[in-house]
């Protein structure tokens, strides 16, 4: 980066909030995605919308890439500064601006940590349901930009369902305000939705208004164990078919249970093949009735044992156990690469089986956990980047899982986003018309391609090898 540009940028935030040292650049070169890393030229911590506008204007003038970064927990190489440039942080824009109890909305700056939002509204008897496993670390700006899901997605939906209004600094430096504290709004295109999940490629989100709902009265938590994966998967489909919508319906296989137990030491049985974590919340009478019904369905589908959480603390422990699954799996091998394939709920058993077969075929260790109720599984490949031969097989397995998910009517990513990692596969899911439409949107809003370049859109699409499955 040109010295002059750098100086102009530093002048905007002041040198105390501009990082340029080797160590600082390296610390912002990665996110939670294995095997992707690139150094930025400078890392800035602006304190206001105006500062962000100025940064964007300078970048637009010189064609400098801008990577917005929350806590860097995304799993799609969404914040790696692939083309260098400026990393923009929100550590100084992390205030809660307004809790409006009449309209049930909360307005926040993008740097607020998700969990802080959950805790704040809970104190008022309100509820912000999206709860990605990373909620103790992730920022709301990151959640909105990835349209993150969570453990309560089945019943309550994902981040998009709670975003009411946004303020965005566009690539021109202009400030765009979308939506409002409204229950209804059809004034033109739904720009709020366009920016949700846009992965920092269309603009910088500088303010977010979230919708809240009243907190459920009570909650029950059930653990169910199985001796085969299929039985667990069939239970999931049967629960949905019985018209019960649990708040949470999560799945972990044997390998995941082992890793989690090693960390948590809470006495999870490591001799079973699969486990479901099922929660229902709401009116006590309804919760009891639903959970009884669910329990019956589990037993009918061959559960070997069940365990109902007896206290709030125990229930909290169990959901932590599920939240740490991915990181705990990292214990098994040096490199952890996870998938985010999502299929229609009815196809979950088929997908689980396919993953098992793919692991065998390519001689890989794949452990699976995920939001089974959403049809959103995370087959996680445990491998070693230093082993070229194995990495070649990983890539083939990766592609085959995508291919299979799409064939079942699914998608390549349910909640983690495309980023740089899945960009070469995007066309498989959305086709040429989809790519063309998305590209023209990107070009219209960001003609200079300065907003997170190299993400979502790859230089070239991976060739799709169609694999025959019987």
């Amino acid at each position: 980066m040109d010295v002059q540009v750098k100086e102009r940028l530093i002048a905007i935030t002041g040198s105390a909030h501009a990082r340029t040292s080797t160590a600082q650049k390296l610390a912002y070169s990665y996110d939670a995605t294995a095997n992707f890393q690139a150094l930025p030229d400078i890392v800035l911590s602006p304190s206001s919308v105006e500062e962000i506008q100025e940064i964007v204007k300078v970048c637009a003038e010189y064609g400098v890439p801008i990577v917005s970064r929350g806590s860097g927990t995304n799993l799609a190489a969404g914040t790696t500064p692939t083309s260098g440039g400026v990393v923009v942080l929100f550590n100084r824009m992390n205030r809660i601006l307004e809790l409006d109890e009449e309209n049930l909305t909360l307005t926040v700056q993008p740097g607020v940590i998700t969990q802080a939002i959950n805790e704040l509204v809970a104190e008022k008897g309100l509820f912000y349901p999206p709860d990605p496993s990373s909620m103790s670390i992730s920022t709301i700006g990151g959640n909105v930009s990835e349209n993150s899901g969570g453990l309560r997605g089945l019943k309550y939906g994902v981040t998009r369902d709670y975003v009411k209004a946004l303020k965005i600094v566009l690539p021109s430096g202009e400030l765009l305000t979308t939506g409002g504290k409204l229950a209804k709004d059809v004034a033109g295109y739904d720009l709020t939705s366009l920016f949700v999940g846009s992965e920092g490629t269309l603009g910088i989100i500088v303010e977010i208004t979230l919708g809240l709902i009243p907190a459920p009265e009570t909650k029950k938590t059930l653990l169910v164990f199985y001796d085969t994966l299929e039985k667990a998967a069939q239970t999931v489909s049967s629960i949905i078919a019985a018209k019960i919508v649990p708040a949470t319906l999560e799945f972990m296989d044997k390998g995941t249970i082992e890793a989690v137990e090693e960390f948590m030491k809470i006495g999870l049985p490591t001799n079973c093949e699969a486990m479901l974590l099922i929660e229902q919340d709401g009116d006590p009478a309804v919760v009891d009735k639903d959970m009884e019904h669910v329990h019956k369905l589990c037993m009918e589908h061959g559960a070997t044992s069940t365990q109902m959480a007896q206290t709030v603390e125990e229930a909290a422990q169990l959901s932590i156990a599920r939240r740490v699954a991915l990181s705990a799996l990292a214990r098994k091998r040096p490199t952890t690469i996870l998938e985010d394939a999502t299929v229609p709920r009815s196809e979950i058993a088929k997908m689980v089986k396919a993953v098992q077969e793919i692991a065998l075929k390519y001689d890989l260790l794949i452990c699976t956990f995920g939001h089974a109720g959403d049809g959103n599984l995370h087959p996680t490949i445990l491998t070693d980047v230093r082993d070229d031969a194995e990495m070649a097989r990983v890539e083939m397995a990766f592609a085959e899982i995508f291919d299979h998910a799409i064939k079942l009517g699914g998608t390549i990513t349910g909640e983690h986003g495309v980023g740089e990692m899945k960009a070469p596969y995007l066309e498989w899911k959305i086709g040429k018309a989809g790519m063309d439409t998305m590209k023209s949107i990107k070009l219209a809003i960001d003609p200079l391609n300065i907003m997170n370049p190299g993400k979502i859109f790859a230089k070239s699409t991976k060739k799709r090898v169609v694999v025959q499955h019987e």
Binding site: R19, S21, T22, A23, Q24, L26, A27, Y28, S29, Y30, D31, A32, T33, A34, Q37, S45, S71, G72, T73, L89, N91, R92, I113, S134, S136, I137, V260, E262, F263, V324, L326, S327, A328, A330, R331, P334, T335, T336, D384
Partner: protein, 441 residues
């Protein structure tokens, strides 16, 4: 820094820092909210566990060239190890930072000999007047409180620049130590007491109280001769060889025959003692011995609870609460040995005082060995917000379980001008006082 120098450091990283251990980190970030330096640097990833591990790997892999900014990121780490229990992937951060410091130190001491560079971790401290003043103030306080006696004994003086050594040398000798008597009567539990270098010099009173309490609860206490400082301070700053020497001496000094526990009253010592086996991975005999030794290691709070102190305190007459007591975790006791409930249980059981939990009690106090001397700015920020919490809960007594934390809390009380209303105490002294009050009236 010259290319040759950077290359030397990279090689040293390859030799000292274990690649597999680095690769255990999958960069999820779960450790971030647990890390005091991340929090107090306004969420600077450079000052986070994930950032430091990435830096270690980048230096080792040759992705970045070693410079002062990287060195600073490692120097600013408290070594509190709060990142370890927070890490679902089981990353051994404590070992990694020790290996890193060893890697840096081995190159630095070499080049010091060659007189090519004279850039130590301490240089910047003495280049900056303001920092210097804070450091001197702390040092003065430490002298008053008796730390200088310890300094000589531990030998970490060698870490200090020459003039500091001079200063230390001019200090008077520590008073002759009195050894507490082992109990005479028939005892059911037999424990060996690890005196700890700091505890043994500055806090002799606490050691005596420890033994008295143990005797009272029916313990026979032996104090093995020839025991040494645990080696933690050397180990944490990367001087593994010297740490190993102390560890070996202690393994020899403590006969495990007939001993139920090896008890210590310093969280930092206990943590290091419980990990002696890590030091002897290449020596099977010592490794086995170290494991047996570590298995018997226990901290005083846990032992007191096992021996029934809670019931003992419950028997005491109910009196009105005249003080508000809070507890500052010893980071190594909590993060390495996982002991967090026992000290609190004891404090809750004590009569005449009200225990309140202070928000952020689990976060390191900023003492961390000699950290507050080396990184006065960060240490002061951490201590400052710690004292805010103390004030917020209106604590009159701050309890600790480690000499470093105790000193730091004393510094905090002084600095905030709270000495009229608040005091810092070791849990042993506090309980001893409670029990003696009720006996002696």
């Amino acid at each position: 820094m010259s290319n040759a120098q950077a290359e030397l450091i990279r090689h040293s990283f390859v030799t000292h820092v274990d690649e597999n251990r680095l690769m255990d980190c999958m960069r999820c970030g779960f450790c971030l909210p647990a890390c005091p330096t991340y929090i107090y640097s306004d969420y600077d990833e450079t000052q986070s566990p994930r950032g430091r591990i990435a830096l270690m790997k980048a230096v080792r892999d040759g992705d970045v060239e070693w410079d002062g900014s990287i060195e600073e990121a490692f120097d600013l780490c408290l070594g509190c190890r709060a990142c370890e229990p927070a890490c679902p992937a089981g990353v051994q951060y404590g070992t990694l930072i020790e290996e890193t410091r060893e890697a840096v130190l081995s190159v630095k001491s070499q080049s010091l000999k060659e007189k090519t560079i004279r850039k130590g971790a301490f240089d910047h401290l003495f280049a900056d007047q303001r920092k210097m003043k804070t450091a001197v103030k702390l040092v003065t306080f430490y002298q008053k409180s008796g730390l200088q006696k310890v300094v000589r004994k531990v030998g970490f003086l060698e870490l200090f620049p020459p003039f500091m050594k001079e200063m230390e040398r001019s200090l008077p000798d520590p008073p002759k130590k009195r050894r507490a008597q082992a109990a005479q009567t028939e005892k059911k539990t037999k424990v060996a007491f690890f005196a700890g270098c700091l505890m043994d010099t500055m806090f002799q009173e606490t050691n005596r109280n420890t033994i008295e309490l143990l005797n009272m609860l029916g313990c026979e206490v032996v104090i093995p001769k020839n025991q040494q400082c645990c080696g933690a301070l050397q180990g944490h700053s990367g001087e593994m060889e010297r740490a190993r020497r102390n560890a070996k001496a202690n393994l020899e000094a403590f006969s495990l025959e007939g001993i139920d526990y090896i008890v210590n009253n310093a969280g930092g010592c206990g943590a290091f003692l419980s990990e002696y086996d890590r030091l002897f991975e290449e020596n099977p005999t010592l490794h086995t011995l170290a494991r047996q030794f570590s298995k018997k290691q226990i901290d005083i709070s846990s032992l007191l609870v096992k021996l029934g102190i809670v019931d003992e305190l419950a028997k005491q007459p109910q009196t009105e609460a005249t003080e508000i007591v809070t507890y500052q975790d010893s980071c190594h006791l909590r993060n390495v040995n996982g002991v967090k409930d026992e000290p609190r249980e004891i404090l809750r059981a004590a009569k005449g005082s009200l225990f309140v939990e202070m928000p952020g009690a689990h976060l390191c106090c900023g003492s961390a060995g000699i950290y507050n001397l080396l990184q006065p700015e960060m240490a002061s920020r951490i201590l400052g917000s710690k004292m805010e919490e103390v004030k917020r809960v209106q604590a009159t007594t701050i309890i600790t379980t480690n000499p470093g934390c105790l000193l730091q809390m004393k510094v905090g009380v002084e600095r905030e001008g709270l000495s009229e209303t608040a005091r810092a105490m070791h849990v042993v002294d506090f309980i001893h006082e409670k029990i003696m009050e009720s006996i002696g009236g």
